[in-house]
């Protein structure tokens, strides 16, 4: 059993998906999905523990040797990501049954869970596999299920948002495929570890440069790096609340993982950062993303849009940390991947609760919500504070590492810009606070009740995690540091 954990991680939700189709009663399908996701979470905990104590796990699918068969390779980085994805997925699912009551027609509930499981399995597959082509396959599964999930949104604009995402996502996936194809042509292998060994011999060829460009641009489309972010705000805003909470916390993180994996492990640090001007490009794009998206967030009237733009800005922070290309920088990025998942999970889930009660997430509907839904609004405030980076929340920990990494590189102006960027977060978070707490509820409107416990419990689990991991940073910092040290080829 223990020996097969790596494959069980992916296969359990993947097999659960078609089985779920047989369950016609929504509540049963929900419980089944929850069970599958919970099992995946347990698996990822065991995997992380195993990796942290005894190093990288290599699992050969069907017993075929590596360059020919598909290999699953779990090191600290993979295990960390697997843990984040499964944890968020499980917590978010607690609220799913209540949340989709109003948002999705009853006859599509089972389909929703099937798609959710597929999407989860595919994300886990992308992270777990050590095979470049396998990455593409899972990427397609995850994308297709994502398009369908977003299209399930109640608002008719969800269809358009999904279509937008489909076009951009397909371009991204195609680019990645072309890149992988070119690499295969030059090296004759698809195994990442093998690729890393063979690429240096042919590194100075135009084909490999092209492959690199295709892969990186494809991934950047997926991770919504400014200015390739246009698909994201609408997709997040019009998707069902649960889907938004799940994707905002995980989907772009998987793309960040791919970026790190391809630049650091497959192409190698010296190729990615020395031969090509990736560093300056990413610092500029990251910073531009922070400022443009944060400014855009300030002007949004739909809170889901607002936090979607904020997500794009947060990706900017991750990219700046990544482009520092030091252990501290990468640690900052990985920490922020973890911490941002907690923040956005909490925020979007709380928005789901608001959606459930008042049927909208327009800022103008938030009047008086501070009194009517005190616990939900308190969760949004704490999530917002974490986003700003107030001490004792997770946001502070990642900001600390990020600024430290930037200063270590001597990039003083960048440090100033990062901190100024977080001031923009103060502005957009406080817009919500002011409306919710200072505007009285419109006269004559019916009283709105606090969200049901099925929302409050998962929301507050995530909120408390925001504070807990802001104080007890051992788990997140240790794993992130170990992962980034191993990517730099140092002993953890």
């Amino acid at each position: 059993m223990i020996a097969h954990l790596a494959i069980l991680q992916v296969i359990v939700p993947l097999m659960a998906a078609p089985l779920c189709l047989l369950l016609t009663r929504p509540r049963l399908a929900w419980l089944f999905t929850l069970l599958a996701s919970g099992l995946a979470f347990l698996t990822s905990c065991l995997l992380l523990q195993q990796v942290m104590t005894s190093g990288t796990i290599i699992y050969e699918l069907g017993g075929w040797d590596a360059p020919w068969g598909i290999e699953y390779r779990i090191d600290q980085l993979n295990a960390f990501l697997l843990l984040i994805i499964t944890a968020i997925s499980t917590v978010v699912l607690f609220a799913a049954h209540t949340s989709i009551q109003d948002e999705i027609p009853a006859d599509r509930h089972t389909i929703f869970y099937v798609l959710y499981l597929l999407s989860l399995a595919a994300m886990l597959g992308i992270v777990a596999t050590g095979d470049a082509f396998n990455v593409f396959v899972f990427l397609e599964i995850s994308s297709l299920s994502a398009y369908a999930l977003i299209a399930l949104g109640k608002d008719r604009r969800a269809l358009w948002a999904s279509y937008q995402y489909l076009i951009m996502g397909t371009i991204g996936a195609t680019f990645i495929l072309i890149g992988i194809g070119l690499m295969y042509q030059m090296t004759g292998t698809l195994n990442m570890d093998d690729l890393a060994k063979r690429l240096p011999e042919v590194a100075q060829t135009r084909t490999i440069f092209t492959a690199f460009a295709f892969v990186i641009v494809g991934i950047c489309l997926k991770l919504a790096l400014f200015p390739l972010h246009l698909w994201l705000p609408n997709a997040y805003a019009y998707a069902p609340s649960i889907v938004t909470a799940f994707f905002a916390a995980t989907a772009t993180k998987v793309a960040i993982y791919l970026l790190i994996r391809f630049t650091f492990s497959v192409f190698g640090l010296s190729f990615s950062f020395t031969h090509l001007p990736l560093q300056i490009l990413f610092v500029v794009l990251g910073l531009a993303g922070i400022f443009v998206a944060s400014t855009a967030a300030i002007y949004q009237t739909n809170i889901k849009h607002l936090f979607a733009y904020s997500s794009i800005a947060q990706i900017g922070y991750m990219i700046v940390g990544f482009s520092a290309s030091t252990v501290t920088g990468l640690t900052a990025t990985l920490l922020h991947v973890f911490n941002h998942a907690l923040m956005k999970g909490a925020l979007f889930l709380a928005l789901g609760a608001v959606m459930y009660r008042i049927g909208s997430t327009q800022l103008s509907q938030f009047h008086g919500l501070g009194r009517q839904m005190p616990l939900t609004m308190a969760a949004i405030v704490i999530g917002g504070l974490s986003l700003i980076g107030v001490p004792l929340t997770v946001g502070f920990v990642s900001k600390w590492y990020l600024v430290l990494a930037v200063i270590e590189n001597g990039w003083w102006p960048v440090a100033v810009l990062i901190l100024l960027g977080s001031l923009l977060a103060v502005v957009y978070v406080w817009r919500i606070v002011e409306v919710a707490y200072f505007k009285p509820a419109p006269a004559g409107s019916e009283t709105i009740k606090e969200a049901p416990a099925s929302f409050l419990i998962p929301v507050w689990i995530l909120v408390i995690a925001n504070i807990y991991f802001g104080i007890d940073t051992r788990l997140s910092v240790q794993v992130a540091e170990a992962a980034s040290r191993s990517l730099f080829g140092m002993s953890p």
Partner: protein, 490 residues
């Protein structure tokens, strides 16, 4: 009670937090709720006095709570400067609670439970700041103080309160994140530690340009010290109920700011390094400008609380200036000014609140002849004004004396002149208020408003106590002076 000094130190931070929970729990019974606040403030004062006696005997008191990141600890220790601030804050919390009970009830304020709960959290974070053993701990509590006082500033929930709150939070959070945090991370990067150490953490090899820039970042970043041009939050905060303005925006929050400046000057830079930094001179003049300009602005305010707020901005400039002088007289003067200004200014605010509650007046021009109806309040106002100006028989005399000595020792004659001129300006904007109240009694006005009486008894008692405090600090300044002297001895 048999309790170790260490647990008393920890308890002095936890106790107000527990009180906040207690206040929320007893929210439906106002008498019980106020009893919780009063009881806690008495207990806190008891704890702090015990700690004071502890360090007088030379005991080292410190606790480590948690290591957040490697090398970044939340830890506390007691040293004289922190002790001084803690004594003032905890004593005045008790007095303000008494005052607030009278004020809030007769003013029929809403949401009193939230008010007292946030107040208690704010005091807890002030205690965290005073006893912080390193810059990191201090920063955490500094931010909590900002956030916990935001609901107090916006207490009334009106449009004006919302605007005031926006400026308040915007300026305090922005400066702390953009400059203060950057300065802290830079210090961590350059010195490798954030612990407060006598003589500073930077070694002799440090680049003075870099250290100078970090100093500027610190002084601008500590927005709570209200050095111009980052002072706007303080007048904006005056929309809060008067007890908040009195304790938080004359004592706790602003003094947390200048306390942090002092702490950083003495224990991060060390006065020897501070004296040779290229940016110190610039910051001294900035503080001087802040003193003069704020005094001039204060003269033009007709709203009493606004005038007092600008006066505070000016007086905070004194403390920053004293810290930056980097001599022992300057440091002693600054530390004593924290205490003397606290007593003086809180009395003035108490008076302003008393006038508002009893006579419903907030404009200075309407206060003529009020001395006949509210003689105690106006007499208190007069004595507290003397303390702010710095003349006998009030405590402000001593602190201004040491500050002037400091400027002379360092031969900063321009700054000396600024201090003198500012004292004259203080006279010009403070003394006419009690003067007109007593002597330009307009008969037509006072006969129509004959019903005005003194403020409610709890408020009156509170303002008498702080007035007596002003006088005692003049007659018997030795304990304060010894505490201030001990700061540099550690």
């Amino acid at each position: 009670m048999n309790m170790s000094l260490e647990s008393m130190l920890a308890l002095s931070i936890i106790l107000p937090l527990l009180a906040a929970i207690g206040i929320v729990a007893t929210g439906s019974k106002p008498n019980l709720r106020e009893a919780v606040t009063l009881g806690t403030s008495v207990a806190l004062l008891y704890l702090v006095i015990n700690l004071y006696q502890g360090i007088k005997q030379g005991t080292n008191i410190s606790v480590l709570w948690w290591e957040l990141l490697p090398g970044l600890q939340i830890s506390f220790s007691v040293e004289p400067l922190g002790m001084l601030f803690a004594l003032i804050a905890s004593f005045l919390w008790l007095i303000t609670t008494v005052y607030a009970i009278g004020y809030m009830r007769s003013h029929h304020e809403q949401n009193q439970t939230r008010f007292y709960a946030c107040f208690a959290i704010a005091i807890s974070s002030v205690m965290g700041i005073t006893f912080a053993d390193n810059l990191f701990t201090l920063f955490i509590f500094y931010e909590i103080l900002t956030l916990s006082t935001y609901p107090l500033v916006t207490h009334s929930g009106t449009e004006a309160a919302k605007k005031g709150g926006r400026v308040y939070l915007g300026l305090l959070l922005s400066t702390s994140i953009a400059f203060f945090l950057l300065a802290i991370i830079s210090t961590w990067f350059v010195a490798g530690t954030l612990d407060f150490k006598p003589g500073g953490v930077f070694d002799s090899t440090v680049n003075t340009t870099v250290a100078g820039i970090i100093l500027v970042l610190f002084v601008f970043g500590i927005g709570k010290a209200a050095i111009m041009p980052f002072h706007r939050w303080l007048p904006a905060a005056m929309v809060a109920p008067t007890p908040v303005s009195a304790l938080l925006h004359a004592v706790a929050v602003v003094k947390a700011g200048v306390f942090t400046v002092l702490k950083i000057c003495i224990f991060i830079f060390g006065i020897d390094l501070l004296a040779v930094l290229p940016s110190t001179q610039f910051l001294l003049y900035l503080a001087g400008a802040s003193i003069l300009l704020a005094s001039l602005v204060a003269m033009r305010q007709d709203n009493l609380k606004a005038r007092l707020a600008y006066s505070t901005v000016s007086q905070l400039g004194y403390i920053t200036l004293g810290a930056l002088l980097a001599t022992s007289s300057g440091i002693i003067g600054s530390s004593m000014h924290i205490a003397t200004h606290a007593f003086g200014k809180i009395t003035l605010f108490f008076c302003a609140g008393a006038i508002l509650v009893a006579a419903h007046k907030s404009k200075i021009s309407e206060m003529r002849g009020l001395g006949l109806q509210m003689p105690i309040t106006m007499a208190a106002f007069f004595i507290a004004s003397l303390s702010i100006i710095g003349v006998p028989p009030a405590g402000g005399t001593w602190s201004k004396w040491f500050l002037l000595m400091g400027t002379m020792e360092t031969e900063q004659f321009i700054l000396m002149a600024i201090l003198m001129i500012s004292s004259l300006l203080n006279i010009a904007y403070l003394l006419p208020i009690p003067f007109h109240a007593f002597f330009s009694g307009d008969k037509t006005l006072s006969s129509g408003a004959a019903k005005i009486k003194e403020a409610p008894l709890p408020s009156l008692i509170a303002l008498c106590i702080t007035t007596v405090g002003c006088v005692i600090l003049f007659v018997y300044p030795q304990p304060l002076h010894e505490l201030a002297k001990a700061i540099l001895a550690t």
